[in-house]
């Protein structure tokens, strides 16, 4: 018996040691194989614009990260030209011909890549591909072609058509074309996964603070002063403040033209690294392109840049005195943005400097009122708040409501003229106090169809869930001004008062569809409202069902 126990113990030990030995190398292997952000950022699709349709071979999926890692971080000079001592020019290849001739351009690229690969292979170093197909990799493989067959076609009986691709040529190259083709043209069902976008560089308050600290608050390294302002400051003997500095807007970079961020950021990092300074920034793609968006909680730890901005202000215009001033919590908004430029343009000047009452050329004739209210802009108050309402948890109700800012008295929610309004942290009233007692619990929605059983509808539970969503968001807490606001998502158009029954849906939504053209009948109204919210919220099936049987059992089954 002891022997058996000993044997079992030994085997278990051996197993665990073996298992440990097997599992330890895994984390080391992972970075190579997994598609983390860094690797994804490194993939840059190289293609000359304008000749995609004429290309005989597919575009090259150039992995910048792989090249930088293989050649070493400071190897930028291998591919990029020197800019007369002012760092590098980040275009490729080194002497890019100034021409639009596609063949010359193509040759320039081919020469640069292949020459280097060749050279390294002669020196017996690790190198890249030399033949065409190794770089120009066709992304759709033959296995991905799944034709839709006509219903009368029986593949088993068909001995003639062995392989589709023996006769059919590939009818398309891009995934977008795929759904448009039918079996006659040889349909492709599963195309390429869509191109992954290069993640945004996550320059935000935190990184700004880091740069500011490291560079001893030398704002001029990245920002600039307009010459007129510089003169003014010199005359008065003042030092420039945060407000005076401007930031060059980042133009879209292309393969031919450099963009602002790479010229400035990467060059600065590169020159400092080359000069062997200790404190320097990253050079690899994925180290900047992290697409990080810090949550308000994370932002609390970030040092707020000191630009003598007030925490809370009353926004008022000297020109327009009709409307009351708007209390604005600058600190709270700063927690919910990534950088000043989310609202401000290329500096942090007050809005009215450029946006005037009647519109000015400086602000592209966007008036002051429009600067705050334009729905289509992500910089304006209304525009940004509108996008907040598109969030899944909010859209369920808000898509049912027609623009609430059009309601009478809606303006006064913001234009309250009192800073105390910002202190108003009102929570939604408990639903028990709002819903009439006889409709609080679970009840069955009337039977409308033949095939399905009645729906068990829990009024209180749903309202409590809405309250939880509303209470969790400071924006919702501020703007859901009325106790009954949360009820309006479902009970649209009807007068709402606490503890008072609302008109039934049947009042407007009849059971006969023909009786009200353009308005859904009762069944349609229920389904459109319930499913409309459930679908936009995208919650789990158990919580917010999106299938028929999720709400009512099928009688036949």
């Amino acid at each position: 018996m002891k022997k058996i126990i000993a044997a079992v113990a030994i085997i278990t030990c051996a197993y665990s040691v073996l298992y440990a030995a097997q599992s330890t190398p895994e984390p080391a292997q992972e970075p190579a194989g997994s598609m983390d952000n860094a690797t994804r950022a490194g993939h840059i699709l190289l293609s000359l614009p304008g000749i995609q349709n004429g290309l005989t071979r597919p575009e090259v999926n150039f992995d910048h990260e792989k090249h930088s890692r293989a050649l070493g971080e400071t190897s930028c000079r291998t591919c990029h030209a020197d800019n007369q001592g002012k760092g590098l020019i980040f275009t490729f290849p080194k002497n890019l011909p100034e021409t639009d001739d596609e063949e010359i351009l193509m040759n320039a690229w081919h020469n640069a890549c292949i020459a280097c690969h060749n050279e390294r292979s002669l020196e017996d170093k690790q190198t890249g591909p030399i033949t065409c197909g190794q770089c120009h990799i066709r992304k759709t493989t033959k296995a991905e072609h799944v034709p839709i067959l006509p219903p009368y076609y029986e593949p088993v009986r068909d001995t003639y058509h062995g392989k589709c691709l023996n006769c059919h040529s590939e009818p398309m190259r891009s995934a977008e074309d795929a759904p448009m083709l039918d079996w006659k043209k040889f349909q492709i069902l599963r195309g390429n996964p869509p191109e992954e976008q290069i993640p945004k560089a996550g320059f935000d308050y935190q990184r700004h603070a880091l740069h500011s600290q490291t560079l001893d608050k030398d704002c001029g390294l990245c920002h600039y002063l307009p010459s007129q302002k510089q003169q003014e400051l010199e005359d008065e003997g003042l030092t420039p403040q945060c407000r005076d500095w401007l930031l060059e807007p980042d133009p879209e970079g292309s393969w031919r033209k450099e963009d602002y961020a790479h010229t400035r950021c990467v060059n600065c990092h590169f020159t400092r690294t080359e000069a062997r300074e200790i404190k320097t920034g990253p050079l690899l793609c994925g180290e900047c392109h992290t697409a990080t968006a810090r949550t308000p909680e994370q932002m609390l730890d970030v040092v707020r840049s000191d630009c003598q901005q007030k925490e809370k202000i009353l926004i008022r215009s000297k020109e327009i005195t009709v409307m009351d001033a708007v209390p604005f919590n600058h600190a709270q908004h700063q927690l919910r943005t990534q950088a000043c430029q989310d609202c401000h343009h290329n500096g942090i000047q007050p809005c009215h400097e450029c946006h005037t009452k009647t519109g000015d050329e400086k602000a592209e004739f966007v008036t002051l009122a429009q600067a705050f209210h334009r729905e289509s802009s992500s910089r304006s108050c209304v525009g940004c708040h509108e996008t907040q309402k598109q969030k899944p948890e909010c859209a369920g109700c808000h898509q049912q409501l027609s623009a609430p800012q059009a309601a009478t008295g809606a303006c006064a929610t913001c234009h309250s003229n009192s800073l105390e309004a910002l202190e108003r942290i009102r929570k939604a009233a408990p639903p028990e106090d709002l819903i009439a007692p006889d409709v609080q619990g679970t009840w069955q929605i009337e039977k409308l169809g033949e095939d399905y059983a009645k729906v068990q509808f829990n009024h209180l539970e749903i309202t409590q869930a809405l309250k939880a969503v509303s209470d969790a968001s400071p924006l919702a807490r501020y703007f859901h001004t009325n106790d009954m606001t949360l009820c309006a998502g479902c009970h649209h158009y009807s007068p709402l008062e606490p503890k008072k029954k609302v008109p039934s849906c049947r009042t407007c939504h009849d059971t006969k569809p023909e009786s009200m053209p353009g308005r859904p009948d009762l069944m349609g109204a229920y389904h459109q409202q319930c499913l409309g919210c459930h679908r936009t919220t995208g919650a789990a099936e158990e919580k917010m069902p999106q299938t028929c049987n999720g709400c009512h059992a099928h009688k036949q089954q």
Binding site: Y152, P179, E514, P517, G518, H527, Q546
Partner: protein, 308 residues
């Protein structure tokens, strides 16, 4: 010398022949314009359906209702209509289904778009125009109906349809029929009821009514929710107008509703075809011209012989 003469006269003949043909063609085109202008406007009294694809949840109740109302469609297993796996393929209408719902994912981030397809019941149906024997007819109410007793199985309607709707019973070797949506014309419309799919839809994706009213309703919805819809009613003017019209949140090409232009398809072919045979005049003219040419040549040759 003789050969040269004949060739010369041949050449003249050909030139003249082409000239005559040209004249006849011009006459035909003139007649064609007149023919088109005389056509009545079929949109006036037409019944129609407006499909709001933004509402559809892909429950396939319409497919089930269609299958039940058409007793000659094959009986399918009970759970077929709750099987989501059909959405993995893009399906087309066929001999066993007059309507299909397909799923599209134009944007990976957004919710999928479900689109119901069936016969569009065009105002100027190409299938009716193409049918040799009048088996396809368009009812004044808007339904394009098929009469299997007249059909000879040429399948021109299938080739003509821009939406690839009519299907053929290839499996029925002896009595094959062309199969397509009937608009529930004989089963429900005549009794004043709405089509089976329309009344079965739990989300009320489809609205049934007079075409003019529905167009107004569609524009009203677009105006009220400009962010939600592409500002266009597909079918209001496409291929001369259809009675089944669509609203969508994504470009119509992405949900397999092809860009056909606003000109009706028979509008291209019919004026030429009909005018060619109008009162049999152009053919008579052609034969007269040919007879004239024959007579002229004969006389000319005779004169030539006489001079020799």
């Amino acid at each position: 010398m003789d050969a040269m003469h004949t060739s010369n006269s041949d050449c003249m003949n050909r030139r003249k022949f082409i000239k005559y043909i040209g004249l006849t063609g011009a006459a035909t085109l003139g007649a064609a314009r007149g023919a088109q202008a005389q056509q009545k406007n079929p949109a006036e009294q037409s019944l129609a359906v407006l499909v709001d694809t933004t509402l559809c949840v892909g429950c396939r109740a319409c497919e089930q209702a269609c299958n039940e109302i058409n007793p000659d469609l094959p009986i399918v297993p009970n759970d077929f209509f709750s099987d989501d796996s059909v959405f993995e393929h893009r399906r087309r209408m066929n001999a066993s289904a007059f309507t299909v719902v397909n799923r599209y994912q134009p944007d990976k981030k957004d919710a999928p778009v479900y689109v119901k397809f069936q016969c569009m019941h065009c105002l100027y149906p190409a299938c009716v125009s193409a049918c040799l024997v009048g088996a396809m007819t368009r009812d004044a109410g808007g339904a394009v109906v098929y009469d299997e007793k007249k059909c000879i199985g040429c399948r021109y309607c299938m080739a003509a349809c821009p939406f690839q709707v009519p299907a053929y019973e290839y499996a029925a070797a002896l009595t094959p029929r062309v199969r397509k949506c009937t608009f529930c014309f004989k089963t429900r419309l005549i009794q004043g009821e709405t089509p089976a799919c329309v009344s079965a839809c739990p989300m009320r994706v489809m609205t049934f009514g007079s075409r003019a009213e529905l167009i107004a309703l569609g524009h009203e919805r677009i105006r009220k929710n400009p962010k939600q819809y592409i500002p266009h009613i597909y079918g209001e003017n496409e291929a001369g107008g259809t009675t089944w019209m669509y609203l969508a949140a994504v470009p119509f090409e992405q949900i397999d509703l092809p860009n056909l232009g606003y000109h009706s398809l028979p509008g291209y072919t019919e004026p030429v075809q009909h005018a060619l045979f109008k009162w049999f005049l152009p053919p008579l003219g052609l034969f007269a011209a040919l007879a004239g040419a024959m007579w002229y040549n004969k006389r000319r040759n005779k004169n030539n012989d006489d001079t020799k």
